[in-house]
Symmetry: C2
Subunit: 333 residues, 2 copies
């Protein structure tokens, strides 16, 4: 099955670029409400799955033990831009568990998400450490969960560590998709990365949004994390990031989380729907347009959210002189 | 017609990303020697066409009048990394024609091609100007050609300016593809961008490599530019850039030039072949692997070039800790 073209870039009247992909929209009973492309083949959600990976942090009692607030819980689900407030949040979470930057095993990288942020960072004379890794919030969450449970923190990124076993079990439970050994890759931040059908991911996020068919504690934890993200979009991403803009536009009605290489998940808690998509070629920009586009499809024609989402569903590309040269736009599937 | 998958990324045993594209290999008589995908549909070569755009610089006598050496001619065909030697070359070419940075109309941008180059540039405290634009060599060439011919330099980027008319005519002549008005877009550096079938582009570069069916002066100019590029790969791109690496590996047997959004052209002058390809989704990395892959296809099994090209035909992806997490590799078409 060849996935359809969902986004194209037009330059001078010619379609110049084509991005294929697949999208699943599920309700909390696992019914596929809408889909396009192959939603059964496993794909890597990468960081889009972080909310599920953060469930043990809440369910174990670690979040309460260390007094984590909603900003910190949102940050535990984030792929952040390493702005000052992000770095200090990572530090504060680690400090609450009696740990520090050196305990993180995510690795260091320069700011990824904006050229200006990278320029500013380089000019400040700083060099990146583990705290600046876009996944440091998730890792701080893993470490809090480990310390609270009396687990050895060293090696917490390995598949065999109890923390990763808990994260894996949460992902399996939420998606209802049994993870065989062959589904395991390694993520950018060194933890195991598992692949899921988009259909199962969409189902999982519909359940997280509604609590449907979840145990009481898991339903409570999922709602707490999703509400924390929607209330604190900047802590899940950063200034001008697409997740931030979508959730700010949604004003508590949309949860959205990006993953590397063209993955995106979202939920509309009011409608009881979960969404998962993947751009075949890994383009993050195309995945963003796919997400805004499917959200618009799911909203009523007179929903006042439309006017805030429509500008996010296409992109005018300007050249170095500011001249409009191309447009990236959705293709109706 | 749906183009085939030519490059894929595998992570944890699963194909995670797929890049489709089309490739044309032509001889200098216009015979398609090998192809895959749709090579008849016009696509934008973008900067991959720069050698043809530089023909009037040589043919008009401007290159000789201003004493441009082979490094400067290679630079006129370049998409450079704005390293120090690139910026000074742009300045020297402009100075030869009695002009300076302010006469360039390409616009300014920060270094594009390497994160480390951007970090170093930002740390130096500099801000980019027109000289740092990756197209400043081509633009310096346009200005030299304009001044030598007594043309008003202001507005040389506009489609109606004589310099752009000459560049357009050279592109039409080399490819044998008549450009209708509807084929015109605007490039990143504000000059007109035209779309061509990959088949016509490949034919054009086979002719440039051989001089076949070209007038004496045009054949001489094309050979002079192509030889200049192959002898000075760093001036056509920059340190560790793919064009540089391919041409260094080729040691005078391969010409290669990248264009934005997944375009690549190349030539094997010894074999009398031209190559043009485009990755459907605009991925530059995938286009690089497509290029190395088609070059390997065209070389004999015992050609000693193979050992230098094979490492360029796939890519191991490592995470922030240096762990191998994925592989980008060609898919046989």
């Amino acid at each position: 099955m060849i996935n359809p073209v969902l986004v194209e870039t037009v330059r001078g009247g010619i379609v110049d670029l084509r991005h294929r992909g697949a999208v699943a929209v599920s309700d909390a009973d696992g019914r596929l409400v809408w889909s396009t492309g192959d939603v059964e083949r496993p794909v890597y959600p990468r960081s889009a799955i972080k909310l599920f990976q953060a469930l043990p942090l809440v369910e174990s009692g670690a979040a309460d033990r260390y007094g984590l607030n909603d900003k910190q819980l949102a940050f535990a689900c984030s792929s952040h831009s390493a702005e000052e407030g992000h770095v200090s949040t990572a530090e504060a979470m680690l400090k609450a568990a009696g740990l520090g930057e050196a305990d993180l095993e995510c690795g260091a990288h320069w700011p990824l998400f904006s050229q200006q942020a990278l320029i500013d960072f380089a000019r400040s004379g700083k060099t990146p450490n583990n705290l600046h890794n876009n996944c440091s919030g998730k890792h701080a969450g893993f470490l809090c969960a480990a310390c609270h449970q009396g687990l050895e923190p060293v090696g917490y990124v390995n598949a065999a560590h109890e923390i990763q076993r808990q994260a894996r079990a949460a992902q399996e439970d939420m998606t209802g998709f049994p993870l065989g050994d062959e589904m395991g890759g390694i993520d950018g931040c060194s933890i195991p990365a598992y692949a899921f059908p988009l259909r199962s991911l969409a189902y999982g996020f519909a359940r997280a949004a509604t609590g449907n068919r979840l145990g009481v504690e898991r339903a409570k934890a999922a709602k707490r994390l999703m509400d924390a993200c929607m209330a604190n979009p900047w802590f899940t991403a950063g200034t001008e990031r697409f997740c931030t803009r979508i959730m700010e536009a949604g004003e508590g009605r949309i949860f959205a989380k990006t993953g590397a290489d063209g993955a995106y998940v979202a939920a509309l808690p009011g409608a009881g729907l979960g969404i998962a998509l993947k751009c075949d070629d890994g383009s993050g920009q195309a995945a963003e347009i796919m997400l805004a586009s499917v959200l618009l499809r799911l909203l009523g024609q007179d929903d006042d959210l439309r006017v805030r989402l429509e500008p996010l569903a296409s992109r005018t590309i300007r050249n170095w002189k500011g001249i409009e040269v191309a447009e990236m736009r959705p293709v109706s599937a």
